[in-house]
């Protein structure tokens, strides 16, 4: 196996509180040294002067079309998109066709995931058929390799079922997750309820639809003492509620998407379906609260909610278009261009929210999200100066429903290493991939 000496990069490793120009030595798939003026010692040398070196990103919310919706995304195209975006680990959502709600399908997905260029972990369905009525066989799914249990695109409406799931699942997996939203408050809403929904004549989804369910989930987690993870928080009120719950010791964690940290509901002005997301993009005040939540740790991690959809499905009447957008390839560039570029002091925190913080939630020894010697050599080199316009043609995803389509973004991964192997490289480092 090839050994690599990455020389002279600006190394940012939040868990070690490192932000300095250093060398990194990777041997046999592991990080073996991090220091100054390391000897090559038979390793191939990568001149990384001017590049940022961070732990590989870990995405806890990736939708793939594999199996049976390969027109949206295959395991391979999804992994390529991940590698291109600096993600070395993705947690695959169970909403495949059929859903991953039984041991054989989970085992198959886990086995198939091992063939990918990046680490693909599998989240199993929390309820049978993801229908929200009956618990899945937690122990069997765990044995088949499920990393966590999740209701990826919606709430378990039945509070009793969620309570029993938390009680029953305690200790089986690190957490149970759902995406909090009250469907009766959503009704036929399609975007955030506010001035812009009034302008556009689109029925609104009040922030309350999220807050009501967050409130219930926090009470259930508090009462059962069983960890719950709230996917894709979108409102300031939810952030505040979660912060209060954490302060009194409720076992809750949560995440947010890059889009919600950058865009607001104003992005829907021309009925661009790619900004039709669930939960919806909300206001400037919500966005600021979400950013603050990431910075103060209320929000544990940033997840892409990578949702590939074909043009035939997505580019239709606004009311008929399904929710969701791609995320893996552009997540970091989006955050860098619209946030970190102007507030570089938050770089390390955001990198932590993309790597070590989500990794920690998974409780898997092989997924660490840091650059500690002895850990797997999952890391990414990022060129913060590089500017690029996102086009449909150059996206690695099978689908093209990116919120960043035709946008020019700065700060792109230049090379991504998984277990010491370069799985993506571009520009001056393109030779690594060859």
């Amino acid at each position: 196996m090839m050994h690599w000496l990455i020389k002279g990069a600006r190394v940012v490793c939040p868990t070690q509180q490192i932000d300095a120009q250093m060398d990194l030595l990777a041997q046999n798939g592991q990080i073996t040294a991090l220091g100054h003026n390391l000897p090559a010692d038979g390793a191939r040398v990568v001149d990384a002067d001017g590049l940022l070196l961070t732990p590989g990103f870990v995405d806890l919310h990736t939708h793939l079309g594999d199996p049976n919706r390969e027109d949206r995304e295959t395991l391979e195209s999804g992994a390529a998109a991940a590698a291109k975006g600096g993600f070395t680990t993705v947690l695959m959502m169970p909403d495949t066709e059929p859903p991953l709600d039984n041991a054989p399908t989970v085992a198959q997905a886990v086995a198939r995931g091992r063939q990918a260029d990046v680490h693909v972990l599998v989240a199993a369905a929390l309820t049978k058929g993801l229908a929200g009525n009956d618990m899945t066989e937690f122990h069997a799914l765990k044995a088949a390799g499920a990393a966590v249990f999740i209701q990826p695109d919606g709430t378990v409406g039945n509070s009793g079922l969620l309570r029993r799931s938390l009680q029953y699942g305690r200790g089986v997996v690190p957490f149970i997750a759902e995406q909090p939203r009250d469907s009766s408050l959503i009704d036929d809403g399609l975007m955030h309820e506010g001035d812009n929904s009034t302008y556009l004549g689109i029925k609104g989804i009040p922030a309350l639809a999220e807050v009501v369910t967050v409130s219930r989930d926090l009470l259930l987690a508090e009462e059962t003492g069983s960890p719950i993870h709230l996917s894709l928080i979108s409102s300031a009120a939810a952030v505040k509620m979660i912060a209060d719950a954490k302060a009194r010791g409720v076992p809750v964690t949560c995440d947010v998407s890059p889009q919600h940290l950058v865009y607001t509901d104003a992005a829907l002005e021309n009925y661009d379906v790619n900004y039709k997301l669930m939960p919806p993009l909300r206001t400037v005040a919500d966005r600021e609260a979400l950013r603050q939540g990431v910075l103060d740790g209320t929000i544990d991690c940033i997840v892409t909610n990578h949702t590939p959809l074909t043009p035939e499905e997505k580019d239709v009447e606004f009311s008929l278009a399904p929710y969701g957008a791609l995320g893996l390839e552009t997540a970091f560039a989006l955050l860098y261009t619209h946030w970190l570029h102007d507030e570089p002091e938050h770089l390390a925190t955001v990198i932590a929210a993309l790597s070590s913080r989500p990794a920690r939630l998974l409780l898997q020894p092989a997924i660490t999200g840091d650059l500690l010697p002895g850990n797997p050599a999952d890391f990414v080199l990022i060129d913060l100066q590089r500017s690029k316009t996102v086009t449909a043609g150059e996206l690695a995803s099978m689908s093209k429903n990116s919120t960043e389509l035709n946008a020019t973004l700065q700060g792109w991964p230049a090379a991504t290493f998984v277990a010491g192997k370069p799985v993506y490289a571009s520009g001056e480092l393109a030779w690594l991939a060859g």
Partner: protein, 309 residues
Amino acid sequence: MQRNLLDLRTLGKAEIELALNTAEACKQLFDRPVRKVPTLRGKVLVNLFYEPSTRTRTSFEMAGKWLSAEVVSITAAQSSVVKGESIKDTARTIQALGADYVVIRHSSPGVPYLLARTINARIINAGDGTHEHPTQGLLDMFTIKERFGRLAGLRVLIVGDILHSRVAHSNIWGLRTMGAEVAVCGPPTLLPSGLAELGVDVYTNLDEAIQGVNVINVLRIQRERQNSVYFPSLREYSRLYGITRAVLDRVGPDVLLMHPGPANLGVEITEEAAEDERSVVHGQVTNGVAVRMAVLYLLGGGEHDALVD
């Protein structure tokens, strides 16, 4: 003017003024022995209606014909599960057939924008879901201006389902731009958020709302929509918000009563009120054709203008 007419909210005062003045000139043509003018000779106007509408469709047909355009009307069958792929397909087919204008009515907000992104023909929004109905807004403003000689400084009350009414939305944005005072009145569940911030006076009590108004525009209550979700019964709605002759009398002899039609007589408006001499509920048809002729003319302008947009 712009290339497409998709909404009134983003239209400027000068553009609305131009449209209303042009409509005035177009309305004159109806007094002549020969009403037709050759302006759009050789142009093709396609009415693409995904929702039934006799009034608006006929009005656009007449407008196109008086301007000598070739007019084709397509009433597309639509169910809620019709895929958008087919609407883009349909649009491209219409374009391939040489359409210069596409007038689109659809139940989903934003569809005119989808068409404008997809094809080169000039797109006119003839009502998209609960978003806007810009030509109806222009028509209402035209009728008000015709009656009062101005829009600025008038107080216009819109009564009914403001949340779901594209007519209300186009009226609100257009009238605000033109300097009129706008008040709305309806059940609290049918008033969208953020109106007060836009300078619209919001009422839930009709008696308070009618104080000092020059115009009352009454919206149609959609029986077909499940209004029971928003208010308990039509009877209760009618009692609280129905416009009767007594209501008109309380406002005064000069009030102008409007309704975009078709009216549910006895629900949002009584027959007596609709037939009152203060009402133009039945009299706006020629104005509608004139306004749509003006829009067709203004969108048909030179290539240079099209590039600027």
